[in-house]
Structures are given as C-alpha cells and as structure tokens.
C-alpha cells in the first residue's frame, strides 16, 4: 500500500479552493511574511532552489534574499541563529530539509530553544518555528526517511505539530508563529503532493487539540501526519466490514491532547495507535501508556500499536513498504482490538511480525 491517499480533503463545495499540501504550506508562509515583517525564512536551499521539496518556490522573488535566506549547510548554526534572532524579537521560520538532518542541530533545539525559557527563570522565550520533512514512503532509504518527531515530542519546552490535512498545512503556521515558545512543524514527505480543495470555510485552526477526522463507535484509530490517510483508509475498509472506527488526528504531538484521545477511547473502549516511528519508546508507546494510566477501566482490549518495523528504513520498495505501517496492518489491529477474526485476505497474519502486536 503505497498509493497516496487523498482523503484528507473535506467535502467538496463549489467555492472550495483547489490546492496541494505544498501550496498550502507556501501560502501560509507567504501570508506570514506579508503580515509580519519580523518573519523571515531561513534554511538550506529555501531561496534560489525554491526549497528541497519546492515548498518555498517563488518566495525569494517576492520577499528578497534578506527574508528568504539561503543558509550554508550548517544546521546547528542556522537553527541556532534562528533561536538568537527569535530572542532578539524576530519571528524566524527555519526549514531543515529532513528530520534526519535536524540531528545536526539537536544541540540548539534541545539545549537552547527548548531550555532557555526555563533556564533563565522565564526571561527568555524563544518564538521560533522550525519546519522539517519527516517520514518514509519515497524510497529515500535510511538517512532521509525516519520519523523522529517522537524524540522531539519528548522534550519539554517544545510544541510539536504534525499537520496532516490541507487545512492544517495552510493554517497551522500562523498560530505556531504566534506562540511565544519554539514550535516544530513536521511535514510528512508523502503529503506534499496531496491535492484537494481547501474548504471555503477553512480558517484559523487551534494548535492545542487533536481532531476527530471520522467519528466511529467501535474502535479509535489514533494517528497523525503521514499515517492519517492510512488510518482513514483503514476506517473505510473497516466500515465495509461492519466495524465503525473513529479516526483521531493527533495534530499536536506535544503537548498531547489527552482529552480528545481519552474521550474517544472512553466511548469506543478500544484503541489502535498508528505511528510511523519505531515501536520502542515511540509516541505510540506514550499514548498507549497514557491510555492505560487514564483510561484503564475503559479499555475492553489491549491497546494495539501499528508502528514501523525496528529497522533503518530500507531502500527497496518491497522492503520499505513492509517496514511501514500500512492500511492492512491497521485493519488487522482494529480487528484484534474489536475481537473479531481478521478477515482472510487482509493479510493480517503476514503483517503481524512487522506491524502487529507481536512485532
């Protein structure tokens, strides 16, 4: 299952605006650059190249090289410079090509951005936004494909966002920039080409809450980012088998919205967490633990997790597919949670070692 699922868009209305995730992101930046002169974009190849994934294409022409800054390949320096600029009153948007590269700036993100406010006793908020691509699915192999957002979600002092819909891609940036503290935005690489109509009424979104993307009653599929389309597809499959799955889009990975997730599970009594991170020590593990802490007596089945196999993401297509959470694996996990046999053909047994409970 590597097909791109395009269910992220809401219902079509005549006045809807056709867009892609990439364009929505760019539009968000354009709006921010236009409306606040403190905002600038900095990163590798964000200017003349137009962004590694083309997100900032055309912005240099509109805003000039001072505000659309091509940075040397010095993740630590330009992320740290973003932090310093934020301290001095700017509102930088720093783009890191992929989450794997962000490790070169981890010192700045953790030891400075996330820490300065507390370490200074509240004197130094860091209003920076750091965007980066995450996730696999494009055969980019082990140094461009990992999903390390869970690591960042581990860090107090950061807000971690994972826009998964066109609306969120378009409207999460503004509240992120308005946040006085550092915000990391993880854009799943498989979403950039997702196209659809931006609902006419789409507007400012909040970055505090998860969203119920599809209501259901039997099991909660908890996903985010690149896994959301897969969870929605799985919910569709499950519906045809008579299982009503509720799909929760976490949206904000830190701080986690326990209430929305918990309310859902308190109703469905079963949870499947879909997370492209590795299972061990993952966000999925965190959510599972919280459900056990807060909703133990609501659970009618063990919490299921569908995560990536514990392997550096391989290049070969078949291997990469097998390493990632897929719709079939989610369907199989939901069936286990609901306590019904996995339908034959769902390939559940085969998937299990990779994405299933025993993996």
């Amino acid at each position: 299952m590597t097909t791109t699922h395009t269910r992220v868009a809401e219902a079509t209305a005549p006045s809807d605006r056709k867009t892609t995730y990439r364009e929505a992101m760019r539009e968000a930046m354009r709006e921010a650059l236009r409306s606040d002169e403190r905002v600038f974009l900095m990163g590798e190849d964000v200017g003349r190249y137009g962004g590694c994934f083309g997100v900032s294409l055309g912005l240099l022409e509109e805003f000039g090289p001072e505000r659309i800054r091509d940075a040397p390949l010095s993740e630590s320096a330009f992320v740290g410079a973003g932090i310093g600029a934020a301290l001095a009153g700017m509102r930088p948007i720093v783009e890191i090509m992929t989450v794997n590269f962000s490790l070169l700036a981890l010192d700045q993100i953790l030891n400075n951005a996330a820490t300065l406010l507390h370490m200074s006793g509240g004197q130094l908020p860091v209003p920076i936004v750091i965007r980066m691509t995450t996730g696999a699915g494009r055969q980019l192999a082990a140094q461009h494909s990992h999903s390390l957002e869970g690591w960042y979600a581990h860090i107090p002092g950061l807000r971690v966002l994972a826009p998964a819909t066109l609306t969120d891609a378009r409207y999460m940036l503004a509240p992120a920039l308005a946040d006085p503290d550092p915000v990391l935005i993880f854009e799943h690489g498989s979403l950039y080409n997702v196209s659809g109509d931006l609902p006419a009424d789409a507007g400012p979104v909040d970055i505090d809450h998860a969203a119920v993307r599809r209501p259901g009653t039997d099991v909660s599929l908890i996903a985010y980012g690149g896994s959301l389309p897969k969870a929605l597809a799985a919910a569709g499959d499950l519906a045809s088998g008579g299982i009503s799955a509720e799909v929760i889009d976490l949206r904000t990975l830190r701080p986690l919205d326990d209430a929305t997730v918990g309310d859902s599970v308190a109703r469905t009594h079963r949870a499947v967490v879909v997370d492209e991170g590795w299972r061990t020590g993952s966000l999925a593990a965190e959510i599972s633990a919280r459900l056990t802490e807060q909703h133990f007596y609501d659970l009618d089945a063990p919490v299921e997790r569908v995560c990536s196999a514990e392997v550096p993401i391989p290049y070969a297509r078949r291997l990469e597919e097998a390493a990632l959470p897929q719709v079939d694996g989610i369907v199989a996990a939901a069936h286990r949670a609901v306590g019904e046999p996995v339908p034959t053909g769902a390939n559940g047994a085969e998937r299990q070692p990779v994405t299933g409970r025993s993996g």
């Binding site: 010095s74 320096a77 001095a88």
Partner: protein, 341 residues
C-alpha cells in the same frame, strides 16, 4: 593563508585618555569579580553552593576590558565560566549569589545555577554550558540586529575548547558570510578542561585560523586589562561600522581548577606560578600604587566596600525564599497565553 604570523592588535597609537577614575573603575570591577569568586569558593566548600562551579580567577581582565567596549544596548552571550562576564555586565552580585544558592531571587530564579546566569534586561544571554553552544545563538542575535538595521554589537565569549566544535566553525562561516555584527571573543586559557591547547588543536594560533574565515581577527594579551579594552574598543567599532564580525583571541590563564577543585595533574605548578606573576588584578593594583593613583588606605577602603557588598549579597541570598515546589513546571512554556483564533 600562507602567513604563519598571527595578526596582532596594533599598539594603539591613540590610547583613549585614561583618567585615574577609569583606571580605578577597571580595578574595582576586576576586584569585584575576584573577591566575589573567592567568596564562592568558601561557600562552595561549606556546601552553600552546589553543582558545577567554574571560576574565572585569573581571567578577570578579559570580561572587564571587553565590557568597556560595549554599550547597554549591546548583547553578551557567555559560557559556563561566566561570573566575571555577568558581574562586569552589571548583573548585581546579589542576584548572582542568590542564583547559586538556588533562590527565587536569583537572576534565573534558581533554575540555572552557576552555569546559567541570565539577565534579559541587561541583554546578558547567559550562561551556556554546551561548549560552542552559544555561538549560533549569538549569530542569530546579530542577524536580528542586522535585519532590523540596529547598530548594536553582539559579543560572544567562548573558550579555546570551542575551536574544536563544529558550532564555532559553522558560526564563524555564517557570520562572515552574512557580515553579521558579531564580536567573537575567544578566551584562550590554554586548556580545554584538562587538555592543553596543543593537545586538542592542530594549529594553536587561533586568531590566525579565525582570520581564515575572512574576519578581522587579533590576538590580545588577556592579562592586561588595558590591552583588552583597547582591542575590544577597536573591534567593536569595526563591528558597529558594518565591517562584519571581528575575532579577538584573548590569551589568558585561569589560576584555579577547571571546576572548583581538580588535581591539576594536567599542568605544572610552575606554569601556574608563572602566570600568577602576571595576575591582571594585582598587576593593575601595583601599577596604580606605583603611579600614586591608589593609596593603601584607598585600597583598604575599596576592599572593605567590596567585602560589604559581597557580604550583603550572601546575606540576601541566605535570607531569600526558594521557589515553591508547586512552581516547578513554571517557565517550561511561556505563561502568557497567546491569543489564538
């Protein structure tokens, strides 16, 4: 770069007109740092101060001299050996002492300790305990100044150890590339913790290497507060004039251990004694006495005043309340809720 001679700060032809009062002020500033830290040693030994504490004793001329070149609008980014920088910058001794006592009146509300002194009002961006970690930050502060057209200087202190860090080289490149108004002050005290410069740098002429990034860079006698002040003034002027980042290698020495106590097995006692002969504080005091600018009585008065100031700081720190545990999670994120749609 083919030259092997490192660039040196030219002997200032036109020294600033140093008034007696200014010289005495420099002495007082250095003495404050010295006496403050000596008291810290006592308090640390009495377990009133805990954690890591890195003393600046021996290097006072650098902080005090550089600060002479900075205005209140400029910014300072420092290291974990930053009591001197903070005091020279004007952070009150009481706030620093309270911080080391872990009290709520501390300059970081007891959350930072010795290594993390902050004073946003004085644009003192602290106490960074990751070697080299403050450099990118300083570049960012400078970037903001450049983008907003403010004629401010961001001064970043770091040690010779940072020369081995990528963050120094990334920042030097970025700052030179973008011509940022950044004053890089390397406090070369010859040791990265216990590793001598020659044992951690292939080329020990640090100013030379900084020059390779295309910035103005000088090596300076860091034991002479006048030399430091002169170099810093020139460099700051250059930065303010928009000629990009400037680099100063301050050749200095710490008289005490890396952190409070160590065995000093990595350096000779004789070496320490040799450097102590060039003690910047006593050296200046001697010069002033010889020039009849500082009488013994005046020295005593000054010492008494500083002792009283430090006593008061300790007393206030002792009396100050601690942050209530209920406020543990304060300042993890900003308390001010932004208006969200």
């Amino acid at each position: 770069m083919t030259t092997t001679r490192s660039p040196r700060a030219p002997r200032p032809a036109a020294r600033p007109n140093r008034q007696d009062a200014h010289r005495l002020a420099l002495l007082e500033s250095m003495l404050r740092v010295r006496r403050f830290e000596e008291r810290c040693v006592q308090l640390y030994s009495a377990a009133r101060i805990r954690g890591f504490m890195h003393l600046y004793i021996g290097e006072e001329a650098v902080a005090v001299g550089v600060n002479e070149a900075l205005t209140d609008d400029d910014a300072v980014v420092s290291t974990y050996r930053e009591h001197g920088h903070a005091l020279a910058r004007g952070v009150p001794a009481e706030a620093i002492m309270a911080e080391m006592f872990g009290k709520v009146t501390g300059c970081s509300r007891g959350r930072g300790g010795s290594m993390h002194l902050f004073d946003a009002g004085r644009r003192f961006y602290g106490g960074n305990a990751i070697v080299g970690g403050g450099l990118p930050l300083a570049a960012g502060l400078a970037l903001a100044d450049r983008m907003t057209g403010q004629g401010r200087v961001t001064c970043c202190f770091f040690g010779d150890g940072a020369f081995a860090e990528g963050e120094f080289h990334e920042t030097a490149n970025l700052a030179a590339l973008w011509q940022l108004p950044l004053l890089l002050v390397c406090e070369n005290n010859l040791y990265a913790m216990g590793t001598a410069l020659a044992r951690h740098q292939a080329q020990t002429d640090l100013a030379l290497r900084a020059a390779a990034y295309g910035m103005v860079s000088w090596a300076v006698d860091g034991m002479d507060v006048f030399a430091v002040e002169d170099a810093a003034r020139r460099a700051a002027e250059g930065v303010r004039a928009g000629t990009g980042p400037h680099f100063l290698e301050m050749r200095t020495y710490r008289f005490r251990a890396h952190s409070m106590y160590d065995s000093d097995r990595y350096r000779d006692k004789a070496e320490i004694e040799h450097w102590k002969e060039r003690d910047p504080v006593e050296g200046l005091a001697r010069r002033l006495r010889d020039a009849k600018e500082l009488s013994d009585k005046a020295r005593t008065t000054l010492e008494d005043r500083l002792a009283a100031e430090i006593d008061a700081a300790v007393e206030a720190a002792e009396q100050a309340p601690e942050e209530p545990v209920e406020d543990l999670l304060k300042y993890v994120t900003s308390p001010v809720e932004v208006t969200r749609p």
